[in-house]
């Protein structure tokens, strides 16, 4: 492979890897939105918090694998607590109230992170077994990023299996399309909400830990990923997993190649994309309702 092609390919793989992680964050967001009608403003903050968990656990125990196990679980538990003790209390007050409370949670997490870990960049090194670069047909590529792609594929495959092949997944999908009816059929929807909120936070947690060695850990992580995840959910259509996947990949590639060709305007590009799509289809590509 000549160097120019190698560069394009590696940019493309970069974009896909970012798209996968983005989808991991956005899938939780879109499921929560589809079921509960809550756009969880704190979702990206959970993602960032999990990256900090990864840093803390690797520093104190020296094991990245332990972080990969415990970080998402801790984030998931936090999500369950937020749903049980905050969101459930104001569910009857409407969507604006829920947006505001989750914004409050976002601020609290952001403030707590700055209070505990400060604002400087922290670095998490990948586990030694993955910390080398492979030479694939003349293209040098860090193995850890390949691992990120493999891991996210496995997690997403498991998620798809649960959602589309099990009874639990069927109930979740039914609740996404009509929660009141599912409740009337005798299924405990509040507990289902709590479970989905926890699972969504768990996915954000997985994304946070896996991304920690690639990007560095700092409070601005939430802004970047959060904005992109919102765009994915909104453009893909609220509650649509397929739409979210498509848009996540598009944005991954768009930002990867955008930096290459239009470095000045790359951030504008994604927002312009979102604004245009929403102006034409306010419900997103695959959305059926607002």
């Amino acid at each position: 492979m000549d160097p120019i092609t190698a560069m394009y390919v590696s940019q493309g793989v970069h974009g896909l890897a970012y798209g996968m992680v983005l989808f991991l964050v956005a899938s939780g967001l879109t499921l929560i939105f589809g079921m509960m009608g809550v756009l969880n403003m704190a979702h990206a903050a959970f993602f960032m918090l999990s990256a900090y968990f990864a840093y803390q656990i690797t520093v104190s125990t020296g094991s990245f694998w332990l972080a990969l196990l415990l970080g998402p679980i801790a984030t998931g538990i936090l999500g369950v607590l937020v749903e049980r003790f905050l969101l459930r209390k104001i569910h009857s007050m409407g969507h604006v109230a829920e947006l505001i409370v989750t914004t409050g949670v976002m601020f609290v997490i952001l403030g707590a992170v700055k209070f505990i870990w400060g604002t400087e960049f922290l670095y998490v090194s990948p586990p030694p077994i993955l910390n080398w670069s492979a030479n694939i047909g003349g293209m040098v590529y860090p193995v850890y990023r390949l691992f990120v792609m493999v891991l996210t594929t496995i997690v997403l495959g498991l998620m798809a299996l649960i959602i589309f092949k099990t009874r639990l997944g069927m109930v979740v999908r039914a609740a996404v399309s009509n929660a009141a009816m599912v409740n009337a059929l005798g299924i405990n929807v509040p507990i289902l909400f709590m479970f989905v909120f926890g699972a969504g936070s768990f996915l954000a947690g997985v994304a946070g830990v896996t991304i920690a060695p690639v990007l560095s850990v700092f409070p601005g992580l939430a802004d970047q990923m959060g904005m992109d995840a919102f765009i994915v959910v909104v453009v893909g259509g609220f509650g649509s997993l397929g739409g979210a996947f498509l848009v996540a990949m598009t944005i991954g590639l768009l930002s990867s190649f955008g930096v290459q060709f239009l470095s000045q305007l790359a951030p504008v590009l994604t927002f312009a994309f979102m604004a245009i799509v929403l102006a034409i289809k306010p419900m997103g590509f695959f959305g059926e309702r607002e």
Binding site: F107, D223, F271
Partner: protein, 331 residues
């Protein structure tokens, strides 16, 4: 209802207090008051959308910032631009921006409305950061001349003097708030509440809901623009991070929620609370975000009507009357 005479006396006392305030507290707290007044107008214009019409926006800062940048750029590029013209430019720029966006945003409501505003405000914010030739990037536009307020042949006030500027702000923002207050009392203003409560029904009654929303939207944007313009004149600098950024959009949500989105005067209380809070806590506490988040959650869980709601409750206890319904119809 408080006696009408008592009300007039209270207004009189407030007017006297406002007149002699700079003499009483000195220049520093005069400037604190100006800051409070700017954010009060900004929050009241935001509340026109949130509290009255039920439209939640994550990007109101774009109108605040547009007004500020328009005023600053007018003062730099137009030779001998007078103060009131510059102020009007701020208002005008925000209204134009709102009219450009309203064909898109007036069709939606709820979460889509909120997210669309996040997208547009971030678009404008990033553009302001990137178009260095016009906005000077992160540093923002600064050092523009602040013209004196001239009444030709009669008198001229130097606006660089903090006391003079204070009176200017009190008049401009006072008039703006009075106009908005009167607007909420007109039949057209009452339509806002009807749209919030049942948009479908309003449409059945023969009103054009999207057009009405668009009008309210443009008015709200214009007054946010005035607030931004006054800020630019006040600080002699307008930077994207302070005037256009997502933080400014969130701040106004916070102010409105804490003050109470149910009433016209709620956001004014909110601005007062936040100005005082910033004044006294920023010296001791670094974690402003943590504090704001906790305030937001506690207010939403336990005082959804905000400070104005608490005041109304106390008022009804003290004056021994039935608790008034604190919806947007009353003050």
């Amino acid at each position: 209802m408080i006696n009408r005479k008592v009300k007039w006396v209270l207004w009189g006392v407030m007017l006297i207090l406002l007149t002699f305030y700079p003499k009483l507290v000195g220049p520093y707290f005069t400037n604190v008051f100006v800051h409070f007044a700017i954010f009060a107008l900004y929050a009241v214009s935001f509340n026109l959308l949130l509290g009255y019409t039920g439209l939640f926006s994550f990007g109101h800062a774009m109108y605040f910032g547009a007004g500020g940048f328009a005023t600053a750029l007018a003062l730099i590029h137009i030779n001998g631009c007078s103060l009131l013209v510059a102020l009007f430019m701020g208002f005008f720029a925000s209204v134009i921006l709102a009219m450009v966006l309203c064909p898109i945003v007036s069709r939606v409501s709820g979460t889509a409305f909120a997210m669309l505003h996040l997208a547009f405000s971030m678009l404008i914010y990033t553009l302001a950061l990137k178009l260095r030739k016009i906005t000077n990037g992160e540093d923002g536009v600064s050092g523009f001349p602040i013209p004196a307020l001239n009444i030709p042949g009669v008198v001229s006030f130097d606006m660089r003097d903090s006391t003079n500027f204070y009176y200017f702000v009190v008049v401009v923002i006072g008039i703006s708030l009075w106009l908005l207050w009167s607007f909420t009392k007109t039949p057209f203003g009452q339509l806002m509440v009807s749209i919030r409560d049942n948009a479908k029904r309003v449409a059945y009654m023969g009103f054009k809901v999207p057009q009405t929303k668009a009008m309210i939207y443009a008015i709200s944007a214009g007054f946010a623009g005035i607030a931004g313009a006054v800020l630019a004149l006040f600080q002699d600098v307008i930077a994207p991070d302070f005037a256009l950024g997502p933080g400014t959009s969130f701040q106004v949500i916070l102010i409105t929620m804490v003050g109470g989105m149910g009433s016209f005067f709620g956001p004014i209380w909110g601005s007062a609370i936040f100005t005082l809070l910033q004044e006294f806590t920023s010296r001791y506490i670094k974690e402003v975000e943590l504090l704001m988040g906790v305030i937001l959650i506690v207010v939403m869980l336990y005082f959804p009507k905000g400070f104005a709601g608490v005041l109304a409750l106390i008022g009804s206890k003290v004056f021994g009357q039935l608790p008034r319904k604190t919806t947007a119809e009353d003050g």
